[in-house]
């Protein structure tokens, strides 16, 4: 198993490198260059400009520039944010916990909804419950997160006045009240993101369960006299979860997209809203770094999925 994990880690490195190449090429192809401000400034003489360009290696061939950039990224030298007046890595580390808290809770909520609903729907296919669950799932993933977010605010904050719609990190309370307030203000963003996730997950779980539930070994298990719960949970679910894990990992990029929107609606100070605000204020180092962090998170979740895969199906880790 540990050998398998190591192998997956080694496979993750080329895809990280590939993503970094894509990002770098995008940046290099983009019109305008980081020194355009200096170039238009009449107070900077051309020879100083040329010296600066040489110093920062802007005239080097593109592969050298890529290697320099990669080297700097790996050493944690992510540049300086001129808007926030601090190093980009400190800025991101400040914002990351809020994002991970919301995304993580949303995933847990999605699993808590999707697995029971999907499994139950698959045990009674085409029943009333199945049809209702299917329709809701369809509506759920057709509703864009920005619209559900606004609807939730409209219903629960404006009309009912139950929940706050602005998320703050400095909650003015201590002890148990602080915890309660943190949970209270996270309910809406987590619900928006989690239910959106749950909608597509329910469909994955249902169809994966249906594929497995017809197999002969399930009939054998039933014939042995095992109860319905044992058959479903121990025999069917474990095998059905294997494709589900892959599909969930493939959904991760979409989840981060949803997280950006949710953070923006509820003004959660995470890296998603940081991305938007830095784009609006032309803060290129932060934009690049946040995109890269998102890419790393996607690769990380894919890695976790691979490890889960190996645990669910031991045959895979032997290969």
């Amino acid at each position: 198993m540990s050998q398998y994990v190591l192998r997956r880690l080694l496979i993750a490195i080329p895809s990280l490198l590939g993503i970094s190449v894509v990002l770098f090429v995008v940046l290099a192809l983009a019109p305008g260059d980081p020194f355009s401000e200096l170039a238009t400034n009449p107070n900077v003489p051309p020879e100083v400009q040329a010296a600066l360009r040489a110093k920062f290696g802007l005239d080097d061939p593109i592969y050298l520039r890529y290697l320099h950039w990669l080297n700097a990224m790996m050493h944690g030298d992510w540049g300086f944010s001129f808007v926030s007046r601090m190093n980009v890595d400190t800025l991101i580390l400040q914002r990351l916990p809020a994002t991970l808290y919301v995304i993580g809770s949303a995933q847990i909520l999605a699993l808590l909804v999707a697995i029971p609903v999907g499994v139950y729907a698959a045990t009674k296919p085409y029943s009333l419950f199945d049809q209702i669950a299917n329709t809701f799932a369809f509506i759920g993933f057709s509703l864009p997160t920005f619209f559900t977010g606004l609807l939730f605010i409209l219903i629960f904050s404006v009309t009912l006045d139950w929940l706050p719609f602005v998320y703050t990190t400095d909650v003015k309370a201590t002890g148990i009240h602080w915890v309660l307030e943190m949970i209270r203000q996270a309910i809406m963003p987590v619900a928006v993101l989690g239910l959106f996730q749950a909608a597509s997950m329910t469909r994955f779980v249902r169809s994966a369960m249906l594929d497995v539930i017809r197999l002969d070994y399930v009939t054998t298990a039933r014939a042995k006299g095992l109860g319905q719960a044992t058959v479903i949970v121990k025999h069917v679910m474990r095998n059905a979860m294997i494709p589900v894990v892959t599909l969930i990992a493939l959904q991760m990029p979409a989840v981060f997209g949803g997280a950006i929107v949710t953070e923006q609606i509820f003004r959660i100070p995470g890296i998603g809203s940081l991305l938007i605000s830095s784009i609006l204020s032309n803060d290129t180092p932060v934009v690049m770094a946040v995109t890269f962090v998102f890419a790393c998170l996607v690769v990380l979740f894919n890695l976790i999925a691979d490890v889960l895969y190996g645990w669910l199906d031991p045959r895979i880790s032997l290969r």
Binding site: L154, P253, G257
Partner: protein, 305 residues
């Protein structure tokens, strides 16, 4: 299987038309039929709408601002008193056009890459599939935002403010959504290229291009059409998301997402402003998704219904 006797009822009557058979299968999916009707109404509304509803999208009348639905303004007005119905008709044209155009881009790239990967037996196929997997693990929305951030100004100079953003958004959304199509096409090609009728074509001396265009591709189109339909919905959501984040079309272009972006700070006094465009996005997306679902029933000839 009761379906075995039902599989070809039209054949028994002596007239068999693939189109009629497809419609029979499609019309079994009631929600898909309703959705097709809804989408037609929506398309008709945005195409014919401006000729019927002649209110300008930028008529400012601050005194009539923030009104709920009324006879003069069926969908109400925004904070500047602009008519929301007129703005939605205008924005709907853009949202639907972006959806269609981005789908065409992604299907074109996807079919091209999938076909190349499906036909080649060597390193090219592996390389293309690695590229597909790489693109699948890219974080789409951040990359979308990054690309628009970097290239916005350049394209604005070439195509003008609205045209430049349109081209950019279509290319970027399409360019980041071709991977599922490529995978589908490759999988189809791998199985179809070994079928006897392709072998027969090869034996008759058909060139690889002719084999692909005349024999393999037509048989692989079903799943592509379904994926393309769903891509339209995804592209509409992507465009609305960009506009909602304030990074899509310029502020004076009222796409549905942009209307929501403008409305989101006035939820307490003018909920209608957000509900109508949001509802329009939802109806368009859910209808397209249901149509995709119905097409899945209609085009998968192996499934008996």
């Amino acid at each position: 299987m009761a379906g075995l006797t039902l599989a070809s009822p039209s054949a028994e009557r002596g007239v068999y038309s693939p189109w009629r058979e497809m419609w029979r299968r499609y019309s079994r999916h009631k929600l898909a039929v309703v959705s097709a009707f809804l989408l037609l109404v929506l398309i008709l509304a945005v195409v014919v709408g401006p000729f019927v509803w002649r209110v300008k999208i930028n008529d400012i009348d601050v005194i009539a601002g923030m009104q709920g639905p009324s006879l003069a303004h069926p969908f109400g007005t925004d904070d500047l008193g602009q008519d929301i119905l007129a703005r939605m008709i205008y924005g709907g044209r853009i949202s639907l056009a972006v959806g269609l155009a981005a789908m065409l881009v992604s299907v074109f790239i996807g079919v091209l890459i999938g076909a190349l990967a499906g036909m080649s037996r060597g390193a090219l196929g592996h390389g293309l599939m690695w590229l597909t997997d790489l693109f699948l693990s890219l974080p789409q929305l951040p990359l979308l935002l990054l690309l628009i951030y970097l290239f916005r100004d350049g394209l604005k100079q070439v195509f003008g403010a609205e045209g430049g953003i349109f081209v950019l958004i279509v290319l970027v959304i399409g360019g980041l959504r071709w991977m599922p199509v490529a995978r589908l096409v490759r999988a189809q090609f791998l199985s179809i290229r070994e079928k006897e009728f392709v072998e027969a074509a090869r034996a008759l001396g058909a060139s690889p291009v002719r084999q692909v265009v005349r024999h393999i591709l037509p048989n692989a189109l079903g799943p592509v059409i379904i994926a393309g339909t769903i891509d339209v919905a995804a592209a509409i959501i992507a465009e609305s998301t960009l506009s909602f984040l304030g990074l899509g079309f310029p502020p004076d272009t009222p796409t549905w997402g942009r209307l929501l972006f403008d409305a989101k700070d006035f939820l307490d006094i003018g909920p209608h402003w957000a509900l109508f465009p949001g509802g329009a996005i939802f109806i368009a997306v859910v209808a397209i998704n249901f149509i995709g679902d119905g097409l899945r029933d209609a085009l998968d000839a192996r499934r008996v219904i």
